[in-house]
């Protein structure tokens, strides 16, 4: 029995007066909203869909094609609706060892999403490249790194919206009001004191990973003290993406930095459980992944690299000649700028590859490992090392500089 309260517009959608597609989308949203006890819907301004074909499979692609096949005029999204990375960079698929069947699924998915009115941005850094949400803006974002950055750094309001639900939000222009759309769930549930300031992106990621492990579940909201100064967007990108990956965390506060936590008391009730995280914890997490010195492949991805990260990588690649493959993955919005600035040419002159519009772990990671004989992988992404263990890799976390050194020598040396 449906428990959500529907307004007049939503009753019309549910009755099919706007066509079968939004009706079907709303039914899906009601089932999820009822599961979480949502009282009603909240309008959203943007949706962001994760729909890589490794996750979709043939069944998911057929599902999208079925939705796209509804009569003309009934199949368009109502709000700006964009996409997370695809499962390939078509221009580099041969180098990755991807098959024709994988690329065919990708093409069918793109065709279906375009027909639904979705804009193929293919990025997990839309808050850096497309349009960052503002404080109190309700959105339906899919990609945990996007959600945690939008909630925490921007002060926007989103739950983790998986592909089917983000698409449904695009088609109806709303989402069930539960979780982080509600002020009461945005209050901190644990306190974390950090006694050092990370600098490198891998240290920021490792710090996020340690805090994510402590937080432990989606509903836990850490409030963090002890981070001095003003971290850069890329640092908080890796921090949040790792926290979300290790903890399924969707929101954190940093006292004096993030918009909802000017003071501890703004977000934290008294007597929260408290934890201390030290530099040794962060170093220990990174060393726990250092299973071998030999490296088969170096990957910079998850999240996609910003223009500034590519600039730093290009500087490190100058004068190098790589022995093992080095892949740097960015968004389709950043890639043309990297090309114009000469960063792509400098990275590729050393033997690296700059890929766009995909993400490494969403691109048939197991199959491309088997195709290329990749086992030991070095990266500066804490999120990536957390994911790839389940794909048969031996992933290792190190600084960008150490990873570039590993590409040149085939050996990873931690500082």
């Amino acid at each position: 029995m449906m428990r959500m309260r529907l307004n007049e517009d939503e009753q019309e959608i549910l009755a099919g007066k706007h066509g079968p597609l939004p009706q079907r989308a709303l039914r899906h949203q009601i089932s999820v909203g009822d599961f979480f006890g949502a009282a009603d819907f909240v309008p959203v301004t943007q949706a962001h869909i994760m729909a890589d074909t490794e996750s979709l499979g043939e069944a998911g692609v057929r599902y999208l094609e079925e939705l796209a096949a509804y009569d003309e005029g009934q199949q368009r999204v109502r709000i700006p609706t964009i996409t997370d990375p695809r499962g390939t960079d078509f221009s580099k698929a041969g180098m990755l060892g991807q098959t024709a069947a994988m690329l065919d699924l990708e093409r069918r998915t793109i065709a279906a999403l375009v027909k639904l009115g979705v804009t193929m941005t293919d990025t997990c850094i839309n808050y850096q490249t497309i349009q960052a949400p503002i404080r109190h803006e309700h959105v339906a974002f899919g990609d945990t790194g996007v959600v945690i950055y939008s909630n925490s750094v921007c002060g926007a309001r989103s739950n983790f919206e998986g592909g089917p639900s983000a698409l449904a939000a695009g088609l109806t222009g709303r989402t069930p009001r539960y979780g982080f759309h509600l002020a009461q769930h945005r209050r901190a549930t644990l306190h974390v004191r950090v006694d050092f300031a990370p600098v490198s992106l891998n240290d920021w990621g490792a710090l996020g990973a340690v805090i994510g492990r402590i937080a432990g579940n989606y509903w836990a909201v850490p409030v963090i003290e002890g981070i001095e100064g003003a971290p850069r967007s890329d640092q908080l990108k890796h921090f949040g993406a790792a926290m979300a990956s290790f903890g399924s965390t969707a929101l954190y506060h940093v006292v004096g930095l993030t918009p909802e936590a000017a003071r501890l008391a703004d977000v934290a009730p008294a007597n929260l459980p408290s934890h201390r995280v030290t530099r040794d914890d962060v170093i220990g997490l990174q060393r726990s992944y250092h299973a071998s010195d030999t490296v088969d492949v170096v990957v910079f991805s998850a999240p996609q690299l910003s223009l500034y990260e590519l600039r730093e990588l290009a500087d490190l690649c100058d004068g190098q000649r790589f022995k093992v493959p080095l892949l740097a993955v960015t968004s389709p919005q950043v890639k043309p700028d990297a090309d114009r600035a000469g960063y792509t040419a400098r990275i590729e002159a050393a033997g690296g590859n700059v890929l766009a519009g995909m993400c490494f772990y969403q691109s048939y990671a197991r199959e491309i490992a088997e195709a290329n004989g990749w086992k030991s992988l070095a990266t500066n992404s804490a999120k990536l090392v957390n994911i790839l263990g389940g794909y048969g890799y031996r992933p290792m976390l190190a600084s960008m500089e150490a990873c570039v050194g590993a590409a040149a020598s085939g050996t990873l040396r931690l500082g």
């Binding site: 899906h28 996750s55 998986g162 089917p164 399924s248």
Partner: protein, 140 residues
């Protein structure tokens, strides 16, 4: 031998009966499963190497990213899917995936459900009543 009825705060799907596979560990289809072989494959997962196909998974919490929202649907299409998923703590992705993939799900109990249900027990999951019932607590 019936050993208990446990009520959940969150429920979705149809009633099913089957064998419980239990661990005090998390769940993410992308992070933890070899979805082709139908086994847990993350080396550090407590159920590594064990088949999840046709089992009622009883685990601690939803982990990881958003992919499970699609993956349960894909796994269901090939019949390489758990019969149901029962969690102490759920995130939206698992619920969205259960809705699309027609995988019954319960979440949120008064006690730690991974300690209350013996692995191998025969259990019934009834989302309409929001209950998990142990039908026979002797491991199969």
């Amino acid at each position: 031998m019936t050993a208990g009825v446990f009520r959940a705060r969150h429920a979705i799907g149809r009633a099913v009966r089957g064998i419980a596979l239990v661990a005090g560990d998390g769940f993410s289809a992308r992070y933890d499963l070899d979805r082709i072989a139908g086994v847990f494959c993350r080396p550090t997962h407590k159920l590594v190497g064990q088949s999840y196909v046709g089992k009622i998974l009883v685990l601690d919490t939803a982990k990881g990213g958003v992919a499970t929202a699609w993956m349960l649907h894909e796994m269901q299409s090939r019949g390489v899917v758990p019969l149901a998923v029962v969690l102490n703590s759920v995130n939206p992705i698992l619920a969205q995936g259960a809705a699309l993939g027609d995988v019954p799900m319960l979440a949120g109990f008064e006690q730690d459900i991974t300690l209350a249900v013996p692995s191998g027990a025969e259990v019934e999951v009834d989302p309409s009543a929001r209950t998990l019932t142990i039908i026979d607590d002797q491991p199969r």
